[in-house]
């Protein structure tokens, strides 16, 4: 690695991001504004997550990147290669061997430990944004803990569809205070937000960083008579037979054929004894 500072960003930028991360950890679920930089990849490709990872990585880390559970899709491969180039850190595809995991839209199936940091790529950090487009208003709502709008939205879901129809980016309340968008993870992953690992969220275009410290209470919103249901496809993985993992539907031909397989490729490979 020559011509780049360690982890690509200059030191002053890293300090600014690090200060935002620490305030985020101190105020669980609160979105801390930060001066997001242009990264050598387009917005929407994980620039927020990349900046958080760059501020967190040390030369001793083993870094894993997943895109919807998979280590070998374009986004994951590009980001992994980027950090190989600018930090020289070891990389891995095994969840249990990684110390820092950057993720796009999944939480690994293998339970995380205290020694791990999970970095989420976040497109829209504001859970209320599609209900109230004005930042001035949503900021006031968070300040006053006025989250009635979201409950009305979930209620209308039930009135129209008979169930809460939000399947991903399912809103949560953190430490009984801030409403938080867990990024577009499937709601199946929501129970895993209560974790021994440090969870950091970075939204590059929207310039927000937030965090969930270890063992923090994270409650998925629901109603007494319509409790939260972390549903998934009701069948086992066609490759490894797992019944407890989130499944992707894969189209296999043009006559309606399909199969359901684990979205977490490392989990699936490990169960089949083929771990990389």
């Amino acid at each position: 690695m020559t011509g780049y500072n360690f982890a690509y960003l200059d030191e002053q930028t890293k300090r600014m991001i690090r200060r935002a991360i620490l305030k985020g950890v101190a105020i669980p679920g609160y979105q801390v504004p930060f001066a997001s930089r242009e990264m050598p990849m387009p917005y929407g490709w994980g620039t927020g997550g990349v900046q958080v990872s760059a501020a967190v990585l040390t030369p001793d880390d083993r870094f894993k990147v997943i895109d919807q559970g998979s280590d070998d899709t374009t986004n994951a491969v590009s980001i992994r290669k980027f950090f190989q180039k600018v930090t020289d850190v070891e990389t891995t595809e095994r969840t249990c061997a990684a110390t820092v995991i950057q993720t796009r839209h999944r939480i690994p199936e293998t339970p995380l430990t205290e020694d791990q940091i999970l970095v989420y790529q976040v497109p829209i950090p504001e859970p209320l944004r599609f209900l109230e487009p004005r930042e001035t208003e949503t900021r006031k709502m968070h300040a006053l803990e006025e989250y009635g709008l979201m409950h009305v939205k979930l209620y209308e879901d039930i009135a129209r569809n008979g169930a809460i129809s939000t399947a991903y980016a399912y809103p949560v309340q953190v430490h009984d205070r801030y409403m938080m968008d867990p990024s577009p993870i499937p709601k199946f992953d929501n129970p895993k937000l209560e974790s021994p690992a440090i969870q950091l969220f970075g939204a590059g275009r929207e310039q927000r960083i937030y965090a969930v410290p270890p063992y923090t209470q994270v409650v998925s919103l629901d109603f007494e008579d319509y409790p939260f249901d972390p549903s998934k496809a009701e069948r086992p993985c066609a490759l490894c037979g797992a019944t407890d993992s989130y499944l992707d539907e894969v189209i296999t031909d043009d006559r309606g054929g399909c199969m359901f397989v684990c979205s977490d490729t490392d989990y699936c490979a490990e169960r089949r004894g083929e771990a990389a």
Binding site: A7, A26, P59, I198, Q217
Partner: protein, 195 residues
């Protein structure tokens, strides 16, 4: 500032390899803040007395020309000012404008002037770096985010931290430093004095 220019006393060094040293130091600071009460080790810098190595590393990792630093009496010496200004370029200010404040618990008093954030922006608040003689895992029981069941950390007092918790999500956050040891107490932690 003019007085400083004529001071030819040798300046203590900062980080040896800033990007790498700061990365390790930040990781220790992150682990400490994410797990209140847990004692981390932070070394590699020898700042001028009375600044501890852990506090020195925190300042080099987090302060720069974008931040305002308050040096409390006892830490507000010519040598410390020169060291901080040379290595970080941080603006030295009063308690009421500070992003970071450094000193012993007694010297950092009173707490009223420090910024505790606003309801809209609770993050716009001070981080106190409290120099201690030692860090001990007793006397105060901590519960809250980052703590599985409970943690123990001896705090300089009880009342100020209880009052700070009641401001949540506003409030200040604390690092406690002693030698190369570091622990943290974010505003989210509930504390209880144990006899």
């Amino acid at each position: 500032m003019t007085g400083l220019a004529h001071n030819t006393e040798k300046l203590a060094a900062g980080f040896t390899d800033a990007p790498i040293d700061a990365a390790y130091a930040f990781r220790a600071a992150l682990h400490a803040m994410a797990r209140p009460g847990r004692i981390e080790t932070l070394s590699g810098v020898t700042p001028p007395a009375p600044v501890s190595p852990a506090a020195g590393a925190l300042i080099l990792t987090l302060c720069d020309p974008d931040t305002a630093l308050f040096l409390a009496p006892g830490h507000d010496t010519d040598t410390v000012r020169r060291w901080v200004l040379f290595h970080t370029g941080a603006r030295l200010t009063s308690a009421s404008e500070a992003d970071f404040a450094l000193g012993t618990w007694a010297a950092l008093q009173p707490l009223d002037p420090y910024r505790s954030g606003t309801p809209d922006y609770p993050d716009r608040s001070v981080t106190l770096i409290v120099e201690c003689d030692e860090l001990r895992a007793d006397r105060h029981r901590l519960t809250g985010p980052g703590i599985e069941t409970e943690a123990m950390l001896r705090l300089p007092e009880t009342r100020a931290f209880t009052a700070n918790r009641q401001l949540f999500p506003r409030g200040f956050d604390c690092y406690f430093t002693a030698g190369s040891s570091l622990a943290a107490l974010p505003r989210s932690t509930r504390i209880e004095e144990v006899a």
